[in-house]
């Protein structure tokens, strides 16, 4: 430390300040760009009276983002968003097919064929006091 000359010290301080202000500026810029101006996406959907969905029906909900299936296995909702990279899968007679990279899912949402590695999300559906089905994503 003792041989740190006056000039060397000033140089160090100057360099330090320059780097510090660059880092602060960059950090501020990143925080500025990182703000999400959009409202949080809807996570609760009122599907109406449960009697609207008798056994054997399949109903698309919210532009097809979910499908409500009522069959021998029971009543359940499936989120049709592909778990690979987020395209919307198309429901078919025995499952869901993704238009982007060809993943297949069965009617429970489980993967039949990749590239998707995870099953389709299954949001919970419950009956409220008024007899309406409520979907929680």
């Amino acid at each position: 430390m003792s041989d740190l000359s006056r000039n060397g010290f000033l140089k160090l301080v100057r360099g330090g300040f320059l780097w510090l202000s660059a880092a602060l500026g960059l950090g501020g810029l990143l925080r500025f760009l990182n703000y999400d101006p959009n409202p949080a996406p809807q996570s609760e959907f009122d599907l109406g009276p449960a009697t609207n969905f008798p056994l054997g029906t399949r109903t698309g909900i919210a532009d097809g983002q979910f499908v409500l299936i009522h069959d021998e296995l029971g009543l359940r909702a499936i989120n049709t968003t592909c778990t690979h990279l987020g395209c919307q899968t198309a429901p078919g007679p025995d499952g869901f097919t993704c238009p982007c990279h060809g993943s297949h899912f069965d009617l429970r949402g489980d993967v039949l064929q990749g590239p998707a590695a995870k099953a389709l999300n299954v949001p919970s559906v419950e009956l409220n006091d008024g007899g309406h089905l409520i979907l929680h994503d």
Partner: protein, 368 residues
């Protein structure tokens, strides 16, 4: 009588720019002055340079001008964007032509930049002091790909929603900083409803600004590094030089040819357009990436998005970036010759990469 003198001097100033027989005695115009008085003939041969770098500059100019014209009508909000594109295409006089020129110049730029890169590797032009400029060029190439992608998204019609979602979700798969990158690029929310304003700003400002700066730097470095790559003077076999006039003449010829090609393409093959995106597209809409990303889409069919969609494509550019640093330097007398033996490894690597990309693209076009 001041007016008459003014008009006469104006006429003589302009006529000084026109080609005349005894140009030699006149002072060169601004455009001529951008060129050195004479240039080694070897640096200006079509069959060496393919004119790719210069063509890229010309195309950027066209893209810039037509892009600014489009901005007079384009509305960057998700409700009106696609409609304003339709207005430009079908209602504004010459709007369709302007948009087609912008589109075709952008596609050609991508191709020409790739050709330029391959040319530079195949003629060992990246070696020694030029390897920094090689990196600048590579950065430009990546920026141009991003510009093409953001421009494609700005159509905001139903064809672009899935590529937009998959492309931006790829960012999320990056460990640690994925979500952060996503929100910086897209602004959070659902890509197909909220990304437009960000893509607009990236396209028009955030990416164009670095492209302009890097292009000027790239051209400056070419000049600073002694012009287009040729062997050092003592190893040259060809000592002939061409004049500034001859160089300008060749450039004008190239500009004319590219200009004619562009106008033909723009007049006869319209840029893609589809109905406006209204929420997420219907399920019948085919999900196909833009042509320059078909190879990535093909790889994504094989599995893990991060490996096939991020790591491998980025790794490929990393390999390109390392070429001048890891392979033995080509012999100095080989600089500027096609396919010299002394940089065979680099040629092989680039050919293999190019073939893989072409093969994947072909594969993705096969019916499933």
């Amino acid at each position: 009588m001041y007016g008459g003198r003014f008009a006469r001097s104006l006429v003589s100033d302009f006529s000084a720019m026109l080609p005349t027989k005894n140009k030699k005695q006149m002072r060169p115009s601004f455009f001529h002055h951008l060129h050195p008085p004479t240039t080694p003939a070897a640096q200006a041969r079509w069959r060496y340079t393919l004119g790719a770098g210069g063509t890229a500059f010309f195309l950027m100019l066209i893209i810039g001008v037509t892009g600014i014209l489009e901005m007079f009508y384009y509305i960057p909000n998700s409700q009106e964007a696609a409609l304003s594109v339709q207005m430009i295409t079908y209602h504004v006089p010459f709007g369709g032509l302007i948009r087609n020129l912008h589109y075709w110049a952008a596609q050609l730029l991508l191709i020409v930049t790739a050709v330029h890169l391959v040319r530079v590797v195949f003629t060992a032009a990246y070696s020694r002091l030029r390897r920094f400029n090689y990196l600048l060029g590579l950065a430009l190439f990546i920026l141009i790909i991003l510009l093409d992608f953001t421009g494609y998204i700005l159509r905001w019609d139903e064809g672009v929603c899935w590529p937009l979602i998959t492309g931006t979700n790829l960012l999320k798969t990056i460990p640690l900083m994925g979500n952060y990158l996503y929100s910086i690029a897209v602004g959070g929310g659902e890509a197909c409803s909220s990304a437009l304003i960000r893509f607009y700003t990236w396209h028009i400002f955030g990416l164009v600004l670095p492209v302009v700066v890097l292009s000027i730097w790239h051209a400056f470095r070419v000049r600073r590094d002694g012009g287009i790559a040729v062997p050092p003077p003592d190893l040259r076999t060809d000592h002939s030089r061409i004049s500034r006039d001859e160089l300008v003449r060749r450039e004008v010829l190239a500009i004319l040819m590219i200009g004619i090609l562009l106008i033909l393409l723009a007049s006869f093959i319209p840029a893609p357009i589809a109905p406006a995106m209204m929420g997420k597209p219907g399920l019948r809409v085919e999900a196909r990436a833009p042509w320059f990303f078909l190879w990535v889409q093909q790889m994504l069919k094989w599995g893990d998005p991060f490996i096939f969609g991020v790591a491998i494509p980025l790794g490929l550019f990393a390999v390109l970036a390392f070429i001048p640093y890891i392979f033995p330097q080509p012999a100095e007398s080989d600089i500027g010759r096609w396919l010299p033996a002394s940089n065979r490894p680099a040629q092989i690597v680039v050919s293999v990469l190019a073939l893989i990309i072409l093969a994947l693209t072909g594969l993705s076009l096969l019916p499933a």
